[in-house]
């Protein structure tokens, strides 16, 4: 159970998904588990918005999906990053870092 829940900023979920998928193909549940694990349970992905986000990214051709078999032996959809997605990840990572840096500066100075 998370110690405190943070709502994800608009657009950051896309970035997190792209980053998570950069280590290899995963299905939706694995993506959400991975985000939760790495953030020590701070970031909890609302499942209701995860799948629309995955479909949206697929629509933009940053990730692509293929059917595979899950750990439970069931049909599951595996998502993986496309070259365009890799570029997008780079762009969004840079944007995020500069934003975080800027916010950090303001918080320190003010």
């Amino acid at each position: 159970m998370p110690r405190s829940r943070l709502d994800l900023l608009q657009g950051t979920l896309d970035l997190l998904i792209l980053r998570t998928l950069s280590t290899g193909p995963k299905h939706g549940w694995a993506v959400s588990e991975r985000i939760q694990q790495i953030s020590d349970g701070v970031l909890q992905v609302n499942q209701g918005s995860l799948y629309p986000a995955l479909h949206r990214l697929e629509q933009q051709r940053w990730i692509k999906a293929e059917w595979g078999v899950s750990e439970l032996g069931r049909r599951a959809r595996f998502y993986q990053l496309t070259p365009a997605g890799r570029r997008q990840l780079e762009i969004e990572t840079n944007e995020w870092s500069s934003l975080a840096q800027a916010i950090g500066k303001v918080l320190k100075m003010a």
């Binding site: 939706g28 499942q47 629309p52 629509q59 750990e71 069931r74």
Partner: protein
Amino acid sequence: MSWYRLLNPLPLVRRGAYREQDLADELSAHLDLQARKHQAAGLDREEAYRRARIEFGSFEEARESCRDVSRWSWLDAAGRNFRHSLRSLARNPAFAAVSILLLTFGIGANVAVFSTIDALFLRPLPVHDPGQLVEIFSVDKRGTLTDLFSGVLDPLSRNRAFSGVCGVATHYDAVEIDKAVQTVGTAAFSGTCFQTLGISMELGRAISPADDRINAEPVAVITDALWRSRFGARADILGRTIRIGTDEYTIIGVTRRPFTGLLLGFPEPVMIPLLAQPDFTPSGARPTTYYVSILARRAPGVSEAKALASIRAERQALLEESVPHHFNAARRREYLERSLALGSARSGLDYFLRRRFGEPVFAIFVLCAAMLLIACVNLCSLLLARSLRRQREIGIRLALGAGGRHIAIILALENVILVLIGAICGVVGGIATARLILARGSQVFGNFDLAVGFDLRVVLFVLAAVGILIAAFVITSVWQARRLSHADAMKQGGRGIIASHTAGQKILLAVQISLTLALVAGSALFAASVRNMYRIDFGIEPQNVWIARLDPVPGGYRDPAYWKRTAPPYYRDLLNQIEALPDIASAAFTDATPFQNAGWRADVIPLEGDLSAHSIDAHVIGVSDNFFRTLGNGIMAGEDFQRAPGAQQEPGVILSESLARQFGDTRALIGRHLRIGTQPDLQRLKITGVARDMDMDLSDLGNTHPALAFIDFWQHQNLEGYPVLLIKTRSAVLDADAIRRVVARNGHEFIQRFSAVTSEIDNALIENRFLAWLSGAFSLLALWMTAVGLFGLLSYQVSNCTAEIGIRLALGARPSQIAHRILAQITRLVLFGMMIGIALTFAVQKLLTAFLYGVTVYNPLILIATVLVLILVAAIAALIPTRRALRIDPVEALRHE
């Protein structure tokens, strides 16, 4: 992914189905994995799944959002929504059927009337650039529009304001084609017509100025329609001949479709040169100048106002150059005093259709538009009522995660489907109805042929009407969906309070009641005025009186000189022969068809006594002896005309009572003299009799005692137009064939059709009767719709308030109190709607007055009756729901959910 793509030959079409399944699989796989995680942490299977589902949130919402993302989502959604709407409509077939029926009626009536308006007023002539064409005519001092003489064509063609002029005279002639005689419209064109109008030729050549000369070889051009129907579109048509009168005309050309002539509703499939037309008028020397309709093409850049100014500037010269040489001084003066006028001829020339039916058609159009408006308002309020009943269904959808937008789309789509089905039925039915009515009208009014059908304007009108309807329904649906998605819909069933959530429906109902009241009042007024019209004392006895026009067989009059000699004895013989037939009480000739035309107008001026300078405008009608007896009218003073030749020393005249009164004592008038108009043979007439007043012209119902001067048919036979035979039979049946045989035996003329004077009266009042009938039918429909609307509102409220009523009854409320509560609001609604409706009725009265006779909008009896009818309908509509409310069993009601 790739394997099913290969197997699926129609990826796009079936993709939707696959995606739905895939999405479900994907999401449930997620659920499984999450549940396994919880199971691993020690929860039992059921608890693990429960928690996984809670964590996941709304399954439906996730699916919905994923669908929205999909590229084809709109297509999928449209298909799904469409199927859903159809299912929803099918669940309530009565509602769907009633709505479609209403829309079919509403749209159909409007399409029928608009397509008639289009055919009458909007459709341009199929010639080159018809917008530049104008018609030029003269206006006499009475304000009557009259044609000019063809002599005006030459000076007009020199006018720089026009790039071309055309003179046309149209007739109905018996034409012999391949030995078969047929009466068809013929147009006599001046030589420059084809060039001026820009009529395209399918075959051969057009009539040229060289053909339009006295003694030129007679030639004719026929229309494509006649070429196909009578000549089987034969290629060797050029050079064949047709016979009109005594002359053979060589066909030199065929015009291209869709040109059928210049006269609205009366095609002229045969065109001949103006100066080569057969001379039927038994009037002596062949004329070289004719009354013609004049069409002119404005030169580029010349406006209608400029063109009018230029002909007005030349008025004197134009008239002087065109006045016929044989005119006497008085006729010449009258002609030269005319003024000139000009109007657009974009949609061709009008014989009488626009004049006769223009106003009624527009009145009917207003009626139909009002009807469509009521139907639309009614459907909107029914939809509101229906959606209130669907609150629970919609509440469930909202709870499952459907957006307000989605609800609005589903609701709107149902309505759009209804409108579209209604529109298709309405358009098909409307065009068919218009054709049927016009075909009937054509039988009644002498074979006019008005083509009604689709063209750009009709299609645009349909699109606009359907667009407005759809917009109204979509707005209603959106409003409704917004309200419902905010309402706590799940908690409503049976526990509402009277009059909640129905404000919109009430406003619509009030509007509907007001429109219905106006319509019912209008139809009552129309009905009362038609009844008044039939009560008019026409001064004649129309029963068993028949009318037949005598048309010449081709060459039946031979040459004018022969006919002038032959006609008087021939007509005397003919009348004697007809009167000798069994069952014929009397017969007479006249030159004006009763209730179709009222004779021609001229000044009547006494020649003796104090009144000699006094001129009175009267209708002049040529009649034979027995005319008054045949029509059941009587001579008050003096005597009838005499049939026997030479019985009268000088030409006589019989005056109607009201004309005679204006000259003084009727008895003293007998034997005095007067003159009529400018015609040479009417300059000295002896007054031989005074007849009782009679009215045979219903175009002016305000004047049922017109001033009439009857001239002697036997003395003045060189009248224009063919004689009309009036026959009074002893029984109610006419042996038409016996009379036809008698006429045919004499070899000069034939009778196309007989009509009864009573049916001529019916025909003269046809637009009034039709308006009364149509508004009556529409009123019933509107009353029914109002009743359904009120019924729907009350039923909803009662079913919505079952619990409240039950509690009230349990607490000891009297049933009358409950009924009072329900009825009070409907009374307020009806009274409010009625006040607006009465105001509306007064507002449209200006529109109605043209069709009302002997009754006005401010008739208290009709208004009170209308209000009572509406209250009665409202009471009937309230009856069932109120009874249902009163029968509520308190125990049952409290158990009600």
